[in-house]
Point group: C2
Chain length 444, copies 2
Amino acid sequence: MTVLPPGALTDPAARAAATSDRSGRPGAEPLAVVRAVDVDHVVEVLRWATSTRTPVVTRGGGSGLAGGAVATQGAVVLDVAGLDRIVSLDPVDEIAVVEPGVITADLDAAAREHGLFYAPDPASAHLSTIGGNIATNAGGMRCVKYGVTRDAVLGLEVVLADGRRLATGRGTLKGVTGYDLTSLLVGSEGTLGVIVGATLRLRPVPVAEATVAASFADVETAAAATSALAAARLVPSVLELLDACTLATIDAAQGTSLSARGGALVLARTDGPDAASQASAVAAVLGATATWIEHTEDAARADELLAARRLALPSIERFGRALIEDVCVPRSRLAEAVRGIEAISAETGVTVHTFAHAGDGNLHPIVSWDPRLGDEVPEDVQLAADRIFDLALELGGTLTGEHGVGLLKREHARRELGDTGLDVHRAIKHALDPLGLLNPGKAF
Amino acid sequence: MTVLPPGALTDPAARAAATSDRSGRPGAEPLAVVRAVDVDHVVEVLRWATSTRTPVVTRGGGSGLAGGAVATQGAVVLDVAGLDRIVSLDPVDEIAVVEPGVITADLDAAAREHGLFYAPDPASAHLSTIGGNIATNAGGMRCVKYGVTRDAVLGLEVVLADGRRLATGRGTLKGVTGYDLTSLLVGSEGTLGVIVGATLRLRPVPVAEATVAASFADVETAAAATSALAAARLVPSVLELLDACTLATIDAAQGTSLSARGGALVLARTDGPDAASQASAVAAVLGATATWIEHTEDAARADELLAARRLALPSIERFGRALIEDVCVPRSRLAEAVRGIEAISAETGVTVHTFAHAGDGNLHPIVSWDPRLGDEVPEDVQLAADRIFDLALELGGTLTGEHGVGLLKREHARRELGDTGLDVHRAIKHALDPLGLLNPGKAF
Ligand SMILES: Cc1cc2nc3c(=O)[nH]c(=O)nc-3n(C[C@H](O)[C@H](O)[C@H](O)COP(=O)(O)OP(=O)(O)OC[C@H]3O[C@@H](n4cnc5c(N)ncnc54)[C@H](O)[C@@H]3O)c2cc1C
Ligand SMILES: Cc1cc2nc3c(=O)[nH]c(=O)nc-3n(C[C@H](O)[C@H](O)[C@H](O)COP(=O)(O)OP(=O)(O)OC[C@H]3O[C@@H](n4cnc5c(N)ncnc54)[C@H](O)[C@@H]3O)c2cc1C
């Protein structure tokens, strides 16, 4: 064993590239970066890490928003993005076997050639890897109908901290032999093992889709309207909400005039053979309190309507630096959450744009500041973010619906997990990674 | 601390009732039985167990088919069936909070009063408890569309082996703070903690249902027809298959004439606003190779058609003693599995009836013997069952799709999990139950 693992890169460019992810939270310079070429290489690196007691930070697309993949002092970054083969795609079983570095959107595109799709759709699908999605249990717009990444994972190939290979789950749709190690690994943010392969469930592409956009006087009326959809037992495949602050910023950045139609926007999609009639039902419910409504089965027009949601974050980031939050509340408490966030913004004087996966109760309050104040998160911005976490917990919610804890939310995660919860986390971490080498200091 | 826990029953009747479940596998007489009256009582019993180093077997409805709840030598049986309150049921959030002893069918009935239903539907729904369903990750006929028990569990209240209380998961539809301890507990067969509460997801009752029944010349044609449904991207809410042996036995027991229509029966259900048109599409696919087909939207007639599935097991049990197996294979290999089971039956001379949740690839081969041979599983029956497990693993499957490992399948489970898998199971068991008190000798 040498002082560095096989294939280690130590040039400043490689090391600098691994110090950060999309959270903006700066990490430390790693000892070295290893771009894994195959699974045996991953095994070698972990054996080396165990024998030298070196921490390992696994890295996929680096698109994380919680600082999960940022390098820490003295660690080696193990970049698995290069393991990017779709190993097999079985259209009858509707199952794909992939390496961890496959880009999310590429798997979806491959599935669509067979009339199938890969349901989890983080907005980062063109940047993120399947391995990173699994490690964070990524969500997206389609979760409201099709579930999160966990719901798409049937089995995993994992390399443990000491280099042993573990297969979890199976290639069947059901199975209950042993503990659900697959789910334990999903969302574990690189702290329990390195994911080197996944067996994933695909789904039939819906035969039709329809889209509804509706504006409302204010965000509370809009939130109430989304609750009314649930009460009417309608299950859209997408249900998004944007607040006035977000609409105004999109208008300013893109030259649109969304704000003129109302102080909040709801975007809904339905799918399946009855997409059109479902969309009519959705439009009837939303229309009862909307100031403006449109309803289309035309794909191009639907894209135009959904563009507002896609452009929200880039528009906000054009004018300021942003902390992208991700709280989730019981969906009946969405309006209360929005009202509470507005109050926090007013009291702290900090700008908060809010958009939400309304159907899941998952809000993204974007807490922003003037870029001239620098990269470091200003104190009042952090205070506003902390108060938003408190609010989510008070409403019976959680501080991260889909982005993960990473580095950014560790203190708050401890509060959410409680003392016994934290003890159990430590015991499980110790069971799988007794030397504490995998992504130390992250997740909890 | 006394020699027995608070509320211990030691009378022969109580102890005898706890020695077995529906697997027929006899257990040992327990030291005592405790019928828990509330969560504090559960805590007291586990503290007592820890201080006296006494094993604890948790028991729900006792309807298990794997011997999971049968008492073991020197153990106390902790019966939680009496904790049977539905604590809350929120129709807007579509969430119920329940105690573990709630009978599965009772929760479903309570949900239906609000236009909702509880999706997991083991055939034992009138006997089994929610706690037992969670501990075994129970399946049922609706899994093919709505998922298994795990997919309905958002959070758990658990008492750990040392009496500490742990809350896992949350009351929101999404959330990724910490490890997925909820899923780790689901399917853990009473070996990691005692489930004393659950937050469950309900779903809107489909507005319409339609049912298709089709007979085929033989089981292979029938299995191919169910694969053709998947290839046509149809997603029925129920998709069951019964073989010739099963049909003949139902006919003999119930005076029906199912066998006259063909050597295999497929039962499919569709639901949702377009149930009828979906059922037509299903009927078109199945009809291409069927010897007989019927298609109905009438609920009473649908019940008659589905009765064959419901009556399968009781009919078989009228004529013989039965080992109820539960293998699962990739659904594209269903026909191969059925053929292999027929070959095993022919080679061993043992009668095997097979019916299957065809949409999931989950087969229930019922290996039976003459009751005059006694209760003990005869050697040739065990051999046939063992060869069915081997077959399932060869086909890339698993030895239990939904019933669990319990006592009955431990040896085979070890093979399926592999050495590293088994080590990881032991490490996790040790992390949560270091003294090994919870259901020792079960599950792996
Ligand atoms: C514009 C934008 C939009 C986004 N939208 C969404 C969204 O809609 N929904 C959502 O959920 N997220 C979203 N994200 C966040 C991010 O894209 C997801 O968290 C994604 O799953 C990260 O994947 P990655 O491959 O980039 O992982 P990385 O950022 O490289 O890593 C994330 C975490 O996973 C671990 N990890 C990565 N690969 C592996 C592996 N193979 N084995 C073990 N651990 C591993 C890392 O150690 C780290 O803890 C968005 C991000 C951006 C920049
Ligand atoms: C006629 C019949 C049909 C069946 N059909 C199906 C089917 O379609 N699908 C299916 O999946 N199963 C089926 N089963 C099997 C059985 O009903 C299920 O396994 C069910 O989930 C067991 O629930 P129970 O409450 O009876 O649990 P029990 O039999 O009492 O216990 C089962 C296991 O769970 C543990 N356990 C029970 N309660 C708790 C708790 N609160 N905390 C921790 N551990 C606990 C026990 O220790 C044991 O290991 C059937 C059984 C019968 C008799």
